[in-house]
Symmetry: C2
C-alpha cells in the first residue's frame, strides 16, 4: 500500500505526526481534508509544503 504519513512542520521543531496512513488529500474551503486508508478523516487549516512519496511523507504547514 502506498499511503503516506502526514506531518505538521513547525519552525525550529521536529515535524509532528498529524495523521498516519493517509490515502486522500483534498483541498477544502478552509484548508485540507485528509482521509486515511480506513476512511477516518481529519481537517486542518494548512497547506502542503512538501510531498516525498518514496519516503511516504506529506509535510503540512498551518495556513
Amino acid at each position: 500500500m502506498c499511503e503516506a504519513n502526514a506531518y505538521l512542520r513547525k519552525q525550529g521543531e521536529e515535524d509532528e505526526l498529524f495523521l498516519e496512513m493517509v490515502d486522500h488529500v483534498l483541498p477544502h474551503e478552509d484548508g485540507l481534508m485528509l482521509e486515511d486508508i480506513f476512511g477516518k478523516r481529519k481537517m486542518i487549516k494548512a497547506k502542503i509544503v512538501e510531498l516525498a512519496l518514496v519516503d511516504h511523507k506529506i509535510i503540512l504547514e498551518r495556513a
Copy 2:
C-alpha cells in the same frame, strides 16, 4: 516504490498525464516543482487539487 503519477485536470476533459513516477513535489514561487524517481524535474504553474496515494495519483490544476 510508492511514487505516483501526476495528472493535469481540465474541465470537461480526461485528466492528462503530466509526469510519471513522481517522488517529490515542492511549492515554488510560481507554482510547483515535481521531481520523478530518476531526478528529472518539471515545473508547472499549478496547484494540487487531489492526492489519491493508494491509486498513485496526484491531480493538478493550472493556477
